[in-house]
C-alpha cells in the first residue's frame, strides 16, 4: 500500500488536521482509495465546508416550497398539481481551462440535476462573466464558452431562454459560467435521490467510466496559477447525445414505480452518488468496481471512484423489477448494469473483484465532513473604494456622448451575437425570447407561464457586499415582475475568491447575510444552489458575484409583458425615483475607469410594493411594456425599450440635485438607482396605473410618449439626448459582434 505522507495529502488537498480526523473516524489509516474518496467528499466543492455555516442562515421555506436545499434541485408549487424544479450551478474552473467542454459539461450537469428529480427540463439560462473583450485570451474564452453552451443545449433540445453577461478585468483569468435549468414535474411525483430497501440492486447506466475528470472537485477548490493549463485532463468531455438518451430513458423509467431512487454522477462521480444516496436513505451502498463499465483498461478502484466522466447515472431499483428497468434502457440503446446493492449498515463499501478496497461510514463523508467557521475581517479596500469625488473628475462629457459610449459598452450592448447561437425556441414554450426581458416559458396544459431571470451586479457587491447582494435579489425579482411574474422561488450561485483569506470570507458572509435579508423581505425563498470559491488567479479574486436566479409565476400566459414599446402614442411612465446615485455605475466604469462609491440605496418595502404593482398591472392587462433600470440607467432603459419594435420615444424628466456640481444631467439619466421601472401603457390606462402605484406608495411619473424615430430625452425641458433610432441601434447591436469580425480581430492581435 502506498505510504500516505505529507506530499500525498497535499496533492489531495487534505490538511494534516483533516487527515487526523479521517484516521479517527475510520479507527485506522485509510487506503489510498479511501483517501481519494475523503478528499473529494471533503473538498470545498462537495462539502461546502467554508460556506455551510453561512448558507444555513438563508430562508429556504415558504408556502410554495416543495423541496428546499439538500436534494439535486429545489422545487416550488406552481399550481395545477405541477412543480417547477430548478437550480443554478457553476462550471467556472473547467471553463477557463477548456472553454467549450467546460461550459458544455456545465450545461449537461445541471440538466441531469433537474431530470434526476423526475422533471422534464424545459428551459436553460446562464450567467456569464469574462474579462475585457479587448484581450485575445478573453475573446477565445468567451467564444468557446458560448459555443459550448450552444453545442450542448441545442443538441439535447432544451432552449436557452435568457441570461446575463458581464465583463470586468477581474474575470480575465477566471471566467464565471453559471448555468440555470428549470424543469416541470408533477408535484406529487418528485423523485428523491435516496437509496432504501436492503438487497435492492444498484444500477449504473450511461457513459463508460474513463480517466477524465479525476479530481475535478478538488480542482474547483483551488486557485489558479500559471500551471492551470496543465490541469486540462481534469476537464471532462460532454456528450449531449448520450445525455439526451439518458434523459428520455430515465423519465420513462420514472413513470414506472420500479425505481427507488436516482442520482446523477456529477462532481466526485461514483463516490458522491453512492455515499449520498446511502446517507439520505439511512442505508448503505455496496458496489464492486469490477462491474462498472470502463472506457479504458487497467483502471484502479481509485480512478473509477474518482472519475468525473459525464453522462452517468446511479439508480436503485426495486428487487424483482430489474428486467422492466433494463428493458427501457435497452430501448434507448443504453446498457444498465448492476454494480452493487443496498445494505443496512450505513456504510459505503467498495469492492474490487470481491475484495474490499474502501469501507467508510456514510456520515463521515457527508454530515460529519468538516465544517469551518473561517476567520473573517472587513477588507481594507472597502472604505477606500467607497470614497467617490465626482468633482475631482472634472466637468463630465455631454450626456449625448456618454449615451453613445454606454450603448457600445459590452455590458450594455445587445447580446444577440450570443443568443442567436442558442436554440431558444425548441419545445415551443418560449413566449419571451432572449433580449426582450426575463426569458419566459409557458407551461403546456395550463394557462400559466414562468418568467426566469438571473442577475447580479458584481460591482455593487464589491463596493458593499451586503447591499450589493440585496440589490441582486431585488433586480432578479424585479425582472420577473416586469414580465408579470410573481417571484416565488430562487436559487443562488455564489462566486467568490479564496475563503481562506479572511477578507474574502467576510465578503462571502456579508453578501449571504444581505441576500438572506432581501429574500425574506421580498418573500423569495432560496431552494438550493451552488457555491464556487477559489475564483482567483495569481492571488487576485474576481469581483464577488453572488448570482441569483428567480422564478416568477404568471397566472395568464397571454398577459406576459416584454420590455419593447408596443404602439406609438402610448404613455411612458417611470415607476420609482431618479436619485443622485452614480456609485458603482456603468457610467463611472466606462467614462472614468472607476469602480467606486457606494451602491444605490434600496428600500425593500418599496421594492416589494413596486413588484406588486408590476404583477398586478400585467395581470390586469394594462401594462404594455416594462423594463427595469439597470446598467446605464434611465437613458439606456428607454433606448432598449425602443429597439425591438423600432418605435422611438420622447421623454422629459426632472433633473436630480447632485452633491457634485455639474453632474446633474449625468446622474439624472445614467445613475443606476434601484426600484425603478419604465413602463408604457395605452393612454386610457395611464391613470389606472398611476392610481395603482400611488395606492402602493410607489412614485409614478408620466415622462413621455412612445413614437417617432429617435430617442429624445430632455431634462426639465432641455434636450440632452437626441439620437436617431437607427444610429443608436447600430451602435448597440454591433458592439459585441465587431470583436469577432475576422480581419479586425487579427489586426488587433497584431498591434498588440
Amino acid at each position: 500500500m502506498a505510504v500516505i505522507d505529507h506530499q500525498v495529502l497535499e496533492r489531495h488537498g487534505v490538511t494534516e488536521e483533516e487527515y487526523g480526523r479521517i484516521v479517527e473516524m475510520l479507527g485506522r489509516e485509510p487506503s489510498l482509495t479511501e483517501l481519494g474518496i475523503f478528499s473529494v467528499m471533503w473538498s470545498e466543492h462537495c462539502s461546502y465546508k467554508s460556506s455551510r455555516v453561512h448558507l444555513k442562515t438563508l430562508p429556504t421555506t415558504g408556502r410554495r416550497v416543495l423541496q428546499g436545499p439538500g436534494e439535486n434541485a429545489g422545487a416550488v408549487d406552481i399550481g395545477d398539481g405541477l412543480a417547477a424544479v430548478f437550480k443554478i450551478e457553476s462550471h467556472n474552473h473547467p471553463s477557463f481551462i477548456e472553454p467549450y467542454q467546460g461550459a458544455a459539461t456545465g450545461v449537461g450537469g445541471i440538466i441531469r440535476d433537474i431530470f434526476t428529480m423526475g422533471a422534464r427540463p424545459i428551459a436553460l439560462l446562464n450567467s456569464l462573466r469574462f474579462g475585457s473583450l479587448d484581450e485575445p485570451i478573453v475573446r477565445r474564452t468567451f467564444a468557446g464558452v458560448v459555443a459550448g453552451i450552444a453545442g450542448y443545449g441545442n443538441s439535447i433540445g432544451i432552449p436557452t431562454v435568457g441570461g446575463e453577461i458581464g465583463f470586468d478585468e477581474s474575470y480575465t483569468g477566471n471566467p464565471l459560467v453559471n448555468v440555470f435549468c428549470l424543469g416541470i414535474a408533477k408535484a406529487d411525483e418528485i423523485i428523491k435521490a435516496a437509496a432504501s430497501g436492503a438487497g435492492n440492486p444498484v444500477y449504473y447506466v450511461g457513459a463508460k467510466t474513463g480517466r477524465d475528470g479525476i479530481h475535478g472537485a478538488t480542482m474547483a477548490s483551488a486557485e489558479f496559477d500559471e500551471k492551470s493549463a496543465e490541469k486540462r485532463p481534469a476537464v471532462q468531455v460532454g456528450d449531449p447525445f448520450m445525455e439526451k438518451l439518458l434523459l428520455e430513458a430515465c423519465l420513462e423509467v420514472m413513470k414506472s414505480d420500479a425505481l427507488v431512487g436516482i442520482q446523477d454522477m456529477g462532481a466526485a462521480g461514483l463516490t458522491c452518488s453512492t455515499c449520498e444516496m446511502g446517507s439520505r436513505g439511512g442505508v448503505g451502498v455496496e458496489i464492486d468496481v469490477a462491474n462498472v463499465p470502463q472506457r479504458e483498461t487497467g483502471m484502479t478502484p481509485y480512478e473509477i471512484m474518482l472519475s468525473e466522466s459525464q453522462e452517468r447515472m446511479l439508480l436503485v431499483v426495486k428487487r424483482g423489477r430489474e428486467a422492466e428497468v433494463e428493458r427501457i434502457f435497452e430501448k434507448w440503446d443504453l446498457h444498465a448494469v448492476k454494480v452493487g446493492e443496498v445494505t443496512t449498515d450505513e456504510r459505503l463499501r467498495v469492492k474490487d473483484h470481491g475484495k474490499v478496497v474502501a469501507d467508510i461510514p456514510n456520515r463521515a463523508l457527508t454530515d460529519e465532513a468538516p465544517v469551518y467557521r473561517r476567520p473573517m475581517s472587513e477588507p481594507a479596500y472597502i472604505r477606500e473604494v467607497q470614497q467617490l469625488s465626482l468633482a475631482a473628475l472634472g466637468a463630465p462629457a455631454p450626456a449625448a456622448d456618454v449615451f453613445r459610449r454606454l450603448l457600445a459598452s459590452p455590458n450594455v450592448a445587445s447580446k444577440r451575437w450570443v443568443y442567436r447561437q442558442y436554440d431558444h425556441m425548441v419545445r415551443t414554450n418560449t413566449i419571451v425570447v432572449p433580449g426582450m426581458g426575463a426569458g419566459t416559458v409557458r407551461v403546456k396544459g395550463t394557462k400559466r407561464a414562468l418568467a426566469l431571470s438571473v442577475d447580479c451586479n458584481a460591482r455593487f457587491v464589491y463596493l458593499d457586499p451586503f447591499r450589493g447582494a440585496q440589490l441582486a435579489v431585488a433586480e432578479a425579482s424585479r425582472n420577473v415582475a416586469c414580465a408579470g411574474g410573481l417571484p416565488i422561488g430562487a436559487t443562488n450561485c455564489l462566486n467568490f475568491g479564496n475563503p481562506e483569506k479572511p477578507e474574502i470570507m467576510w465578503q462571502f458572509a456579508t453578501a449571504v447575510a444581505g441576500m438572506g435579508a432581501a429574500c425574506r423581505a421580498l418573500d423569495v425563498p432560496i431552494t438550493g444552489g451552488n457555491v464556487s470559491l477559489y475564483n482567483e488567479t495569481d492571488g487576485n479574486a474576481v469581483l464577488p458575484t453572488p448570482t441569483l436566479g428567480v422564478v416568477g409565476l404568471i397566472e395568464d400566459a397571454d398577459r406576459v409583458v416584454t420590455r419593447a414599446f408596443k404602439a406609438a402614442g402610448d404613455v411612458v411612465i417611470l415607476l420609482g425615483d431618479n436619485r443622485d446615485e452614480l456609485g458603482g455605475s456603468e457610467y463611472l466604469k466606462v467614462m472614468h475607469g472607476l469602480i467606486r462609491g457606494v451602491p444605490p440605496s434600496l428600500d425593500l418595502d418599496r421594492e416589494r410594493a413596486l413588484q406588486h404593482v408590476l404583477v398586478g398591472g400585467a395581470a390586469a392587462g394594462i401594462i404594455r411594456s416594462a423594463h427595469d433600470c439597470a446598467e446605464g440607467g434611465l437613458a439606456v432603459t428607454l433606448a432598449e425599450s425602443c429597439f425591438d419594435t423600432g418605435l422611438g420615444v420622447e421623454a422629459n424628466v426632472a433633473g436630480v440635485e447632485t452633491a457634485a456640481k455639474g453632474f446633474s444631467d449625468i446622474a439624472t439619466v445614467f445613475a443606476e438607482s434601484a426600484s425603478r421601472v419604465v413602463v408604457s401603457v395605452a393612454p386610457e390606462h395611464a391613470q389606472d396605473l398611476i392610481s395603482r402605484a400611488s395606492a402602493a406608495a410607489v412614485p409614478a411619473t408620466v415622462i413621455g410618449r412612445v413614437g417617432g424615430n429617435s430617442i429624445r430625452v430632455s431634462i426639465d425641458g432641455r434636450i440632452v439626448i437626441d439620437e436617431s433610432l437607427g444610429v443608436a441601434e447600430q451602435i448597440w447591436s454591433s458592439a459585441i459582434g465587431k470583436y469577432f469580425e475576422p480581419r479586425k480581430a487579427i489586426a488587433q492581435d497584431h498591434v498588440r
Binding site: 443538441s155 433540445g157 449531449p240 439526451k244 436554440d423 425556441m425 425548441v426 419545445r427 413566449i431 425570447v433
Partner: protein, 238 residues
C-alpha cells in the same frame, strides 16, 4: 386524419410537431420509434428536427439506416405526404428522398432566429392552402442548413419547380442579406419530383401559435390536413 412523428434517438422537435398536430390542429398523432416497422396507419409522416444520433457523423447520415426509413420510403413512393423539418430535411437528403446536401452555415455558427421565407409553389400537399408568393415569418435553428447541390441539379430543381421555399426579405425579395446560411439560390425548402415529399430547414412547427411570436407556419399543416381530407392520398393508407 393522423400524423406519424418519427422519433430518432436525438430527435428533439418531435414533441413540438406532435403538439401542433394534436393540440393545435386537433388531429390524431402518434410517435413512431425509429426501430418500428410500421407507420401506425398515418396519413402524413413528419421527420422532426433535432440531432439524430447526435449528428456526430454527417447530419442525418446514420438516421437513414433506421428500420423505419424503409417504411417512410415505401410510403413516399406510394405518394404519401412526407415532411422533413430541419434535421428531418437532412435525413431526407441522406436517404435519397430529396436531392442535395447541407453544408455548415456561412457564419460557421448555429443560428436561431426568425427569418422570412416565400412560398414559391403551391402544388404540394404542404403548401396548397398558401397564396402563391406568400411570405411566411418562421424561425430557423440550425448549424448546417447551407443548401448545396451540383449546378446541374440546382438547374433541374428550378426547372421542375421543386424549390418550394426561398429565404427572402419581408417583401418577398430573395436578397443576399435575407439568406441566413448561404444556401444556393436562397433555397429554404424543396420537394421531390412527385411533389409529395417536402423538406425545409425553417421550423414551421415553432410558428403555429401567436403567443410564440408567429402563427405563419400553421398553414403548412393546414395544407396537408386539407390535402388528406380531400382524399388526395386515399390510396396510400393501408
Amino acid at each position: 386524419m393522423k400524423f406519424a412523428v418519427v422519433v430518432f434517438p436525438g430527435s428533439n422537435c418531435d414533441h413540438d410537431a406532435y403538439h401542433v398536430a394534436k393540440d393545435v390542429l386537433g388531429a390524431d398523432a402518434a410517435f413512431v420509434w425509429h426501430k418500428d416497422t410500421t407507420l401506425a396507419g398515418a396519413d402524413v409522416v413528419v421527420l422532426p428536427g433535432g440531432f439524430a444520433h447526435g449528428d456526430y457523423l454527417r447530419t442525418g447520415a446514420i438516421a437513414r439506416f433506421s428500420p423505419v426509413m424503409q417504411e417512410v420510403k415505401k410510403f413516399a413512393a406510394a405518394g404519401g405526404p412526407v415532411i422533413g423539418i430541419c434535421n428531418g430535411f437532412q435525413v431526407l437528403t441522406e436517404a435519397g428522398l430529396l436531392p442535395g446536401a447541407m453544408l455548415r452555415n456561412r457564419s460557421l455558427q448555429y443560428q436561431c432566429e426568425h427569418v422570412y421565407v416565400k412560398v414559391e409553389q403551391t402544388d404540394t400537399p404542404f403548401t396548397l392552402a398558401c397564396r402563391p408568393g406568400q411570405v411566411l415569418r418562421i424561425p430557423i435553428a440550425h448549424g448546417e442548413g447551407n443548401y448545396y447541390a451540383e449546378p446541374d441539379a440546382i438547374e433541374r430543381l428550378e426547372k421542375n419547380r421543386q424549390v418550394i421555399f426561398r429565404y427572402t426579405d419581408a417583401a418577398g425579395v430573395a436578397t443576399e442579406n435575407a439568406n441566413p446560411n448561404g444556401s444556393l439560390n436562397n433555397i429554404a425548402g424543396l420537394c421531390n419530383e412527385a411533389r409529395n415529399v417536402v423538406g425545409l430547414m425553417p421550423h414551421p412547427e415553432r410558428a403555429c401559435e401567436l403567443g410564440l411570436g408567429s402563427a405563419d407556419g400553421l398553414i403548412l399543416f393546414e395544407s396537408v390536413v386539407k390535402a388528406v381530407s380531400e382524399g388526395a392520398f386515399a390510396s396510400v393508407r393501408k
